[in-house]
């Protein structure tokens, strides 16, 4: 086995394209993942996340393009690649008629781990995934959240260098979601993790870097913080003020740092939407102006753009 360039990135994908019949699931996708990095693929359903994951794990070859993982070509040296990858598919693949520990033992044998290592690792991953009380329970009898844990347990069993998790928190209850995320963060300290999700807060919580993928193409790539920053542009506020509209509106517009202000009444409330220039905090200024003029300040709310909105913006309108 010849490693191609061992010092470079852990995963390097170039020109990745996959067709299902005439339909391109992903088209010309390029990305790299550094060792020890946690990379998140973010995109709506059908964006091509699962296709990308399946290619990375050697489940299917790309129609075009090339991927190397730890220097091994994903098509030519598929077995080497598969030895280094732990994979949790979107539908957690479990043999429902096997107990947890037999299942893990089977997976260990398939990954060609030495029997001693299998035994040691099974008790380790059972601890890590907190499955201690269920080691001899039939998988079919476990709840969704526990099945997810078993799925993660099998993925990390052979201490893979790369962990690929496809929608790891889908369909489990909120408490388990938090636990699963914590687990992934812990794993991410030692391993390279590639995960996909359509839940925004998840990426900002777990990932070092995010690739936003839409309709089979990567539309943005950055750290979660930078992405938020890049798209922030201006900040929006909603203020409810008691006072004559004809006077309030010009007064607001006259304030320094206000880019624009508009008014609307709803249910007898006078709501002003104020667009601030970048990086300006206007709350102080506005409250003083309103009180000073003898009007009443009834409510004030900043509408900082959430990642969710960024996401909508990214995947529905423009390209960066």
């Amino acid at each position: 086995m010849v490693k191609q360039d061992s010092k470079s990135l852990m995963i390097q994908a170039s020109g990745l394209t996959h067709y299902y019949g005439p339909y391109a699931a992903i088209e010309d996708v390029n990305f790299g993942v550094e060792r020890g990095e946690v990379l998140g693929f973010l995109g709506p359903n059908g964006a091509g996340k699962t296709t990308t994951m399946r290619i990375l794990t050697g489940y299917m070859p790309p129609t075009r393009g090339k991927v190397t993982l730890d220097g091994f070509d994903i098509v030519e040296q598929s077995l080497e690649v598969r030895r280094r990858v732990g994979y949790l598919p979107e539908t957690v693949p479990l043999y429902t008629d096997m107990p947890v520990n037999s299942y893990l033992k089977y997976m260990g044998t398939l990954r060609q781990m030495p029997p001693k290592a299998i035994k040691r690792r099974i008790s380790e991953v059972i601890d890590v995934c907190r499955l201690g009380d269920y080691r001899s329970t039939l998988i079919g009898k476990l709840s969704k959240g526990f099945r997810q844990r078993v799925g993660i347990a099998q993925a990390i069993l052979h201490e893979p260098e790369v962990l690929v998790l496809d929608e790891p928190t889908i369909g489990i209850d909120p408490i388990q979601v938090v636990e699963t995320r914590r687990l992934i963060q812990e794993l991410g300290r030692e391993q390279t993790v590639v995960l996909s999700t359509h839940i925004l807060p998840e990426v900002s919580m777990i990932c070092d870097r995010v690739l936003i993928i839409s309709e089979g193409k990567i539309v943005a790539e950055d750290t979660p913080e930078n992405l938020a920053e890049r798209l922030k542009g201006s900040e929006q506020m909603e203020v409810e003020i008691g006072g004559p509209v004809s006077q309030v509106l010009p007064a607001l517009r006259a304030l320094k740092g206000v880019a624009s202000a508009s008014h609307q009444s709803s249910h007898g409330k006078e709501i002003y939407t104020i667009q601030a220039n970048e990086g300006q905090d206007l709350r102080d200024e506005i409250s003083r102006t309103v009180i000073g003029a003898g009007w009443s300040l009834l409510s004030m709310q900043t509408m900082g753009m959430s990642l969710e909105e960024i996401f909508l913006k990214l995947t529905t309108h423009e390209e960066l």
């Binding site: 399946r54 794990t57 050697g58 489940y59 299917m60 070859p61 077995l79 080497e80 598969r82 030895r83 990858v85 994979y87 598919p89 539908t91 957690v92 693949p93 479990l94 043999y95 429902t96 008629d97 096997m98 037999s102 089977y106 997976m107 044998t109 398939l110 990954r111 060609q112 099998q154």
Partner: protein
């Protein structure tokens, strides 16, 4: 090779822990005894296993596919195929492991029918030749039937479809001698030679012909090979 073993062992465990396999084995034994008794209960009883073997070939057409239908269809339905195909295991190792498991279970079931032989030996004086050659033939025949089931199970995620299609293929192969009867010359010979049944009759008579052994082994390897290819092709679909 360890992975073949692992796959086979896991499947064997599932056979022994699931009711389906026991039901299949039970039905096989019940029907087989039915056929066995036929030889003994006619006016001129014979201490032979001939009817049993004849009957077993028909029963196997129906039962072998029910043993194999789960093998890959279920993996595809559960999505565990994704695990298998992303583990460092070669496709042929998966197929071979699964096939071996089904073969082991079938052999186990066939071994239980040795009880009939025991009865014959105790109460009569059977000719051992046709019995042993018959068993050899039955095992080869069963192995071929299982390989057909294996292929159909690889091609679909629906176990029922897998079983029914396999039964269909086996029935066609079984009744080729009917079709051969309507033909003449070379086509008749070819159609006859393809048939599952025409190769079995010699075994039952006590004749071990390498031609027939080669036929079953070839048929089995052909279907196992196709199964491997079918599994590989999943990656490209």
């Amino acid at each position: 090779m360890r992975t073949v073993q692992a796959v086979a062992w896991k499947e064997i465990q599932i056979y022994f822990s699931s009711p389906t396999a026991y039901i299949v084995a039970m039905i096989f034994l019940a029907l087989a005894s039915f056929f066995f008794v036929r030889d003994l209960s006619n006016p001129f009883p014979q201490a032979s296993m001939s009817s049993f073997f004849q009957g077993a070939t028909i029963i196997l057409i129906l039962l072998a596919p029910t043993l194999t239908m789960r093998l890959l269809a279920e993996e595809q339905k559960l999505g565990t195929i994704e695990l298998l195909l992303t583990s460092p295991v070669r496709d042929w190792e998966v197929i071979l492991g699964k096939y071996i498991a089904s073969l082991v279970f079938l052999l186990g079931t066939i071994v239980l029918t040795l009880y009939f032989v025991l009865l014959l030996v105790i109460f009569a004086d059977p000719d051992p030749g046709p019995i042993w050659s018959g068993y050899l033939g039955l095992i080869l025949y069963g192995a071929a039937a299982l390989s057909v089931g294996l292929l159909t199970s690889t091609l679909t995620s629906n176990q029922i479809v897998a079983a029914v299609v396999a039964m269909g293929i086996l029935l066609v192969l079984y009744f080729t001698d009917f079709a051969a009867g309507t033909l003449t010359g070379l086509p008749a010979t070819i159609v006859n030679e393809i048939g599952l049944k025409s190769h079995f009759d010699d075994f039952e008579r006590g004749v071990i012909d390498t031609k027939h052994i080669a036929y079953y082994l070839l048929l089995t390897s052909f279907f196992v090979f196709l199964s491997i290819r079918a599994l590989e092709s999943r990656r490209w679909r």
